[in-house]
Amino acid sequence: MSQSKKSKGDWLLPSFEIAPNTSHIKKRSSTDDSCSNKMNVEDDICTDPKRKSSNNLAALLMTCEPQQPSELAISRQKQKTIQEWLDSINGSPKALVLSGPSGCGKTVALKLLAKNSGFDVIEWITPVDQAMDENNRVMRQGERFEDFMVRATRYNSIFSKHSRRLLLVKDIPNVYLVEKDSFSDVLQKYFEMAREPLVFVVSDSGSSRLMQTLFSENIRKAFKLDVISIGAATATSMKNVLKRVSSILNLKGGHILNVTQENIDEILSNGIGDVRSAILNLIFISLKVPNNESHSECTVREESLGLLHGVGRVINPKRIPDGDSWKFVHDPDEIASLFQSQPGVFLGFLHGNYLNTIGGMDEAATCINILSLSDTLISEWRDPNLGRVALSYCIRGLMVTNEKPVSGWNPVRKGQHDDRTLQRDLGAAELRWYESRILSKTQKSENSVSVAEIEGIIE
């Protein structure tokens, strides 16, 4: 199957591989359908700059890719070296090892420069499926790699725009990590049979020993491999890249992103010369978060605000200047939202304590007027929303009225209850009062009266 695909692939791409922005760069790999996505993504450098804004982050990332050598993150000198290498290609097999820390822009630079020099880049992507050869035998990964190295450039693709081709190997099949000898065999074979130049891109982080194991001194000498090592992106180049990218992001992804200079500075401050991760991070921190979510976060954080703190915030409103006017340090609505379940209790506490910090009589009158009205609103139990309205009104009212809170230590008092255990009735009150007076007096006088007289009174 893969064999057939390989043989025909150059001529006939399956329809799903033909993305709207069909590129001139064709991936040549023995992958199956599952890889098609990957192909599309890696597809291309020459994305249409006029593409409409997109929701897709991957597409967004693609638009950030540099279009001109001047936009690359790697230094001019290195660009020149690569360019010289590309120029020196003259039909004979030639191999280059491009090494450098990950994310410094190796691949992008190579692809762009190769394109400008008139090369088609054919990239090896290690297949994840198992392919069969014509004898229905499972092909080994190594064999397929070998096959690619030797034969990939043999046939022209109908989509190709350039006459010359370049093989690109980024992820070297794992087998060669174990069998170093077979890798040199493959190279040997390549140099014997292939005609197109070959580039290995090796990310050379400190822990990776790929450079030492596969491209050791001996092999390099034996096959005359050229080596170009690229350093991490410098702060200046990173800054330039981000600056360029931010304008593109704001333009294309303005509906989901908001890239600000602050974000860029933040990324730059902790960047380690990795352009790719810097861009990803930039996109992540610039994402517009829907407002309601951030609100809910606030409430979760503040939930623990106690009743007494709430009371304190209301009766001691702190103000901070905000432009020409001012605003409260603690948002009245936020306070109100915390006590919605028990507006009556909160009002009781406010009433018990508001006088502690009130300076003048007029303010006090206004405050108690507000409390009185809130209480009236709360008593209207038929509409549950009124409780909230009353609470918000009351909190705002008290906070705004109390312009200069009197400071000083005042214990928080609990609002007293006036329980109706006794009958509230004028007649009853009069009776109670006079009865107590009369009975207390009569009892006193009775002490001096003889028992006989008491009996007489009862009768």
Binding site: G344, L347, G348, H351, L355, I358, G359, G360, M361, D362, A364, A365, C367, I368, N369, L371, S372, L373, D375, T376, I378, S379, E380, Q416, D418, R420, T421, L422, Q423, R424, D425, L426, G427, A428, A429, E430, L431, R432, W433, Y434, E435, R437, I438, K441, T442, S445
Partner: protein, 379 residues
């Protein structure tokens, strides 16, 4: 046989309760209360009408209203007695239990006879709706057991109807229509202004005005005659004037005077209700100094009054009367407007203290402004 036994038991319990009530009935107000319509001392014309009404053997729901101490309750009891005979005097006090829809249990004191039940639904505050509905329902659904009873209906006496919440009043309106066959409602209120028009129109309204000062003095004289005491005319007039045409208070004052000092002297001290004195002092405090700390102190005094179950509207009224004494005409108008506003909000809401305090604060603010202005004028 069993039925007879129960009846006997019932009778004994009734007698026992009656005796208890009698013992308590040592005050002159209760002792000398007229028990029949023909024995009433004033508004005799109205008494005649009432008698005619009752003798028709059927009467509509009644709404008896008038200022406190005018004799509303006395007339109502006379009517009931006229209807059922002396059996209504066998009173017992019972506690009825209710449960709100929200499973809150509460109880309320009722005063019953075999023929009527008296209850003050406003005792339970905002849950009065449940009381009105359940009580009237339980009473009205059971017909008179006693076949010898002359009437086919029972009487439910609701006092302080004007303090009922709007919901309770609506509930009352519905029950009034529904159980008109088995029970008659007699509502007792100080003012009809807070009674729903729907209820007012379903009742025969009977207004009981306050007795005049001469009427009160003559009643006081007759009481003293029955008690075998000698009452100087001057003292009788003074007591009548101090009572504010409130007969109950007048009789209570007289008895208090008697306890304090007998034989009477014309110039002897008349004991005023304590809250009156207390509120007068409160007003004095308000005028003396206007500051938030003073307001805090006055709040404490208001709480004291509320804890002693002095009615909020009474506090309001007396406080206003005392305050106004310190004001000139323009300020009087302002204060009256403020008082009217807060009294209204007080009725509409649950926490009386807020509104009382609001009135006090407002008065103090207005007074302070006035004083500052006049001080400015002098300088």
């Amino acid at each position: 046989m069993v039925r007879f036994f129960f009846k006997l038991l019932y009778f004994f319990v009734g007698v026992f309760n009656y005796l208890l009530l009698l013992e308590k009935m040592s005050l002159w107000v209760d002792k000398h209360r007229p028990t029949s319509l023909s024995k009433l001392d004033y508004h005799t014309e109205q008494a005649k009408h009432l008698k005619n009404l009752v003798q028709e053997s059927d009467f509509p729901h009644l709404l008896v209203y008038g200022p406190p101490g005018a004799g509303k309750k006395t007339r109502i009891m006379c009517i009931i007695r006229e209807l059922y005979g002396s059996g209504v005097e066998r009173l017992r006090m019972e506690t009825m239990h209710f449960e709100t829809p929200s499973q809150k249990k509460m109880e309320i004191m009722t005063i019953n006879s075999n023929y009527h039940i008296e209850v003050n639904p406003s005792d339970v505050g905002i849950n009065d709706r449940v009381v009105v509905m359940d009580l009237v329902k339980t009473v009205a659904q059971t017909h008179q057991i006693d076949s010898t009873g002359q009437r086919e209906f029972k009487v439910v006496l609701l006092t302080n109807v004007d303090q009922l919440t709007k919901d309770a009043q609506h509930a009352l309106r519905r029950t009034m229509e529904k159980y008109v066959a088995t029970c008659r409602l007699i509502l007792c209120a100080n003012s009809t202004s807070r009674v729903l028009p729907a209820i007012r129109s379903r009742c025969l309204g009977i207004r009981v005005p306050s007795p005049t000062i001469p009427e009160i003095t003559s009643i006081l004289n007759s009481i003293c005659k029955r008690e075998g005491l000698n009452l100087p005319d001057k003292l009788a007039t003074r007591v009548a004037e101090a009572s504010g045409r409130n007969l109950r208070r007048a009789i209570l004052m007289l008895e208090a005077c008697k306890v304090e000092q007998y034989p009477f002297t014309p110039e002897q001290n008349i004991t005023e209700p304590d809250w009156q004195v207390y509120l007068r002092e409160t007003a004095k405090l308000m005028v003396k100094e206007q500051s938030p700390s003073k307001l805090l102190q006055i709040r404490g005094r208001l709480y004291d009054l509320l804890i002693h179950a002095i009615p909020c509207d009474l506090i309001f009224k007396v406080l206003f009367q005392e305050c106004v004494k310190y004001c000139d005409l323009q300020m009087k108008m302002d204060i009256a407007a403020v008082a009217a506003e807060y009294e209204h909000t007080m009725i509409r809401s649950s926490k009386a203290i807020f509104h009382l305090e609001a009135f006090v604060a407002k008065f103090m603010a207005i007074y302070k402004r006035f004083m500052d202005l006049s001080a400015g004028d002098f300088m």
